[in-house]
Symmetry: none
Subunit: 231 residues, 2 copies
DNA sequence: GGCTTTATCTCGTAT
DNA sequence: ATACGAGGTAAAGCC
């Protein structure tokens, strides 16, 4: 992510035409090439922006533009729609770049979060001798919902979903590949747990040696009297 | 505006509960106290945020939190709803503040400027034989959007609006009164052109002998190949 | 992948 | 002030 504070004017042409007069603003260039133009007020919506997929190119200002005080010209075009955003920069006050990496993303607490909490408390539902290591076990590619050990002490990675679909199996597969490369964890067994598991997902999981567990949410809630406290 | 790049986790409690696991993100603190938490991808929507009016306070982490690696705690609460956003900062990688001032704000040209340009180019939309005299024809009380002549060579004053309201008809009426006193122009016919004309405005216009024309912006754009050049 | 519904929606406008 | 509808809506859920 690149952060630039600059005196600039902005023109947008796409579904509509819009113009931002010259003023000092924040230009946020994300890793995917998308651009956000923010002022020091308003809500979270930028004054103007370009959504991915798009490309940012810097153009050399021509004589007229240079005479008008433009020192840099950014052109951001959307790859599909052809929408264009043109940023005319007059003066740069700040310019810094930062490596942020992939974000694990927002968890909206609802049924899945509650399911995770309940299963963590009732980890023996997976089998006798199972013990919880931790929830949200962090890996380089994101957090695994639950990490546990089975009766033999071997690691078990649990992926939780309300509706178990192929996507969830793929996700768990990626985690397992990564974790099995870690000598401190390997061998790691996979468990795909959901209130409902689609036949395709079940077939794929079994094909990859991943155990499928269907969870009874209501029964799990019934066992847990802390339910009234919610979280 | 303050920009902070930090390892942080975020919890939101308001209309819903949500959580962001520990990761490196951008924290944007606007002048009004509002906060935006951005990752290096996604759309213009932040991962999490607090809208104004709100207040940001920094809290000293307690022993447990400090032991967990939290060096700073930000608490942003909405003044009316009481929604709260809690940012647990583990490590700050960048921290800078910038004075941006008040933004002049976005001008949506789709409204009038673009319409005027398009209608000037496609003046025959008003009728066969129409010819453009000039845009922004100056009078003593201000510029008339478009001055043209009809097939007979008589003057036509065009008032353009995105949404045709009574105000626009009144404005055009004033121009027409003035221009009809000019022997070089008189008689001047009035045309009220807009993407949408309100019934009250239409009634008033017709009562004053002003012709109403509804413009199809998209069709006019489609006819204008200069649109593909963007600027 | 395409479609429908939702949103801590935001934002403007009319009442 | 509040209600209503559009948005460069974006994002989640569902078939």
């Amino acid at each position: 992510m690149r952060l630039v504070i600059a005196e600039c004017s902005v023109d947008y042409a796409g579904r509509l035409s819009a113009h931002l007069p010259l003023a000092k603003r924040l230009l946020m260039v994300k890793n995917d090439g998308s651009l956000l133009v923010h002022s020091d007020g308003g809500s979270y919506k930028p004054l103007n922006w370009m959504s991915p997929p798009c490309v940012l190119t810097t153009v050399e200002p021509d004589e007229t533009q240079a005479a008008a005080g433009i020192t840099e010209l950014w052109k951001v075009t959307h790859k599909k729609t052809g929408d264009a955003l043109i940023v005319s920069i007059h003066e740069v006050h700040h310019d810094s770049a930062h490596e942020l990496g992939v974000d694990p993303g927002l968890q909206k607490d609802g049924v899945e979060a509650h399911l995770q909490k309940l299963l963590a408390e009732q980890i023996e539902l997976l089998g006798d001798g199972y013990r919880l290591i931790r929830r949200e076990y962090m890996t380089a590619i994101g957090p695994v919902d639950i990490l546990a050990t089975d009766a033999t002490g071997a690691s078990v990675a649990v992926e939780l979903k309300r509706r178990g679909d192929i996507d969830g199996v793929e996700q768990l597969t990626r985690y397992l590949e990564l974790m099995n490369r870690d000598p401190l964890l390997a061998p790691v067994q996979g468990v795909f747990a959901a209130q409902e598991i689609k036949p395709q997902a079940r077939t794929l999981a079994q094909d990859r040696g991943i155990r499928c567990v269907v969870l009874d949410y209501d029964a799990m809630r019934g066992l847990d009297d802390s339910d009234s406290r919610l979280f």
